[in-house]
Subunit: 334 residues, 2 copies
């Protein structure tokens, strides 16, 4: 499979981000559309809170775009909870055709790719892409309930409490998706679930190297190269893997997981992670800079670790996947 | 969103089905490509067995089509296990762009729809759609490990041990997908996880009624209308819901969950269920009849219940979704 250059413009006409308190207190805190001091969003369980975050994020994104949920041709949505229930419960009110995804933390970019291709097919005009993660729901599902106070490894990451929604259309202003490259699943033998950056970095490098080679471009051609949630540990590995392949990414490369928290003040170790991490950092920060013309061509690489607690307990490695989209200010790719 | 009529032919050029012993002993047993007497497929855990079933199913489907995994432009895959690990682990060897899906038991049709639309976009030629479920892996995740011998309600269903793979292309013989309608998530207040047929029937009826109204067709226009895994309980409800909307589906309507086991000899209660149910029954039975010209236009409706054990424990209802594709012998839709 080679890089896909879209024939027709696919625009991101709006986005919205909903986060928890910890994310609001981070360096990007003022950019997010909505936050809740208790991280409960008025709900009685963490899982319902996460579903509510998806509902809020899509509501805000629709409102900014000035359209109703009924007018959506499709919703792509996913999350980290078992059976992706934040998506299926949270987005029930919108009454739109629903495609559930599971790409772990790569889901927001998987959704952008599929939404773009559905629009490219000519049958769809308006598609939403919605993802979420919630620290407390994720901790008790994947690790231990936070009330237990378990110690965390220095290579571990902090699941972001965040939901992001994007509205993609076949006409509009702002930013556009011009090229894309879906990822392959990669397993390089990493089996430590407290070191997911190391498991995901090879997948990110595989996708980015293929993209550079096929497009005959280099890191210098992009203002930013953004991975989703490799954290500082995965960031270093990714930089090294790219260097070994002949690409020095140091000028342009950044990672959403390293930007969302103030890592000096806050005990997040390697950085943020989760479906919500790349969605809220990209949507609230980089996307706005692209729209304003302050940022030229950007490569966004969603990174996902595809294990489960059970496969880890059964001694299996952690496969990973990384999907890539190129995003530019509308008209800039012509 | 209205019914999509594909502009270009999307062909199902091959399919393969891998099942367990119980499914092999059923009335369709001789039609499946491969079965394992112990349901382990040579693996040490049920979860690894399920992943191996996906690998086998896709290997057989590729072999029948005479193509290699490397030549696939994309794989859509999903299953019922937490974090969809049967798909991500089982399909690692194929080295193809990977899109993970979660549509519960509707996943095989969700994948057919997305594969068709990617081919329609003009950027993809060969796409695989792979799904699975495994009774023992599902029982211990969703209910109780089978070793506990828990009693099952008469409305409950039996998760099929089965994996199905389909290869879709932009050129070929056999059967073609000509029209499709993605489903909306529906919640009519059912909250009994031992009665999933009742939760899914309203979603199936919602999609089918919309399809009939938009295409101005009726049950008489189709040789078969096939739901994925409503079971006898959901079948009755579906028939009644359709009748109330003015459609008598009794002549053409059937359900994969009612066909896979001999329900007189075998203690499966309401019938089969799971991602694998519709995939192996459709792929091994109905698809072959369409290819041979023995069956005219068919509507296949994948049905999925989108709850998790946790949302049920938290007292929430069970939302459901149903995706529809129309499949005809190549050339018959012109």
């Amino acid at each position: 499979m080679s890089v896909i250059r879209l024939k027709n413009s696919v625009n991101i006409i709006s986005s919205a981000s909903v986060v928890g308190r910890h994310e609001h207190e981070g360096p990007l805190g003022e950019l997010f559309d909505f936050w809740d001091e208790k991280d409960t969003f008025g709900m009685e369980t963490w899982e319902r809170a996460e579903a509510e975050m998806q509902r809020l994020a899509l509501s805000f994104a629709l409102s900014k775009a000035g359209i109703s949920g009924d007018s959506l041709d499709a919703i792509f949505a996913g999350d980290l909870l078992n059976q992706c229930t934040s998506s299926s419960y949270g987005l029930l009110p919108f009454n739109a055709p629903f495609f559930g995804l599971y790409g772990a933390c790569s889901t927001v970019v998987e959704g952008m790719i599929l939404a773009s291709l559905l629009i490219e097919s000519g049958h769809f005009s308006r598609v939403a892409d919605v993802v979420s993660s919630h620290n407390c729901a994720a901790e008790r599902q994947y690790r231990t309930p936070i009330e237990y106070g378990a110690l965390r490894a220095q290579t571990s990451q902090w699941t972001v409490t965040g939901a992001g929604a994007f509205i993609l259309t076949n006409a509009g202003d702002g930013a556009e998706i011009s090229e894309l490259l879906p990822g392959r699943t990669i397993d390089l033998g990493i089996n430590d679930p407290a070191d997911m950056g190391a498991a995901m970095a090879p997948a990110a490098a595989d996708t980015l190297v293929r993209f550079f080679r096929e497009t005959k471009t280099s890191p210098d051609d992009y203002d930013k190269i953004i991975t989703g949630d490799l954290g500082s540990r995965g960031f270093e590995l990714m930089s090294e893997l790219m260097f070994r392949e002949g690409y020095d990414v140091s000028r342009a490369y950044t990672d959403c997981g390293m930007l969302i928290y103030d890592r000096k003040k806050s005990d997040v170790h390697s950085g943020g992670s989760g479906c919500g991490c790349s969605a809220v950092v990209f949507g609230s920060h980089f996307l706005r800079e692209i729209e304003k013309g302050e940022l030229g061509p950007v490569l966004l690489i969603g990174t996902g670790a595809l294990m489960s607690p059970l496969t880890v307990a059964q001694g299996q490695n952690i496969p990973a996947v990384a999907h890539l989209v190129k995003i530019v200010k509308k008209g800039a790719s012509l």
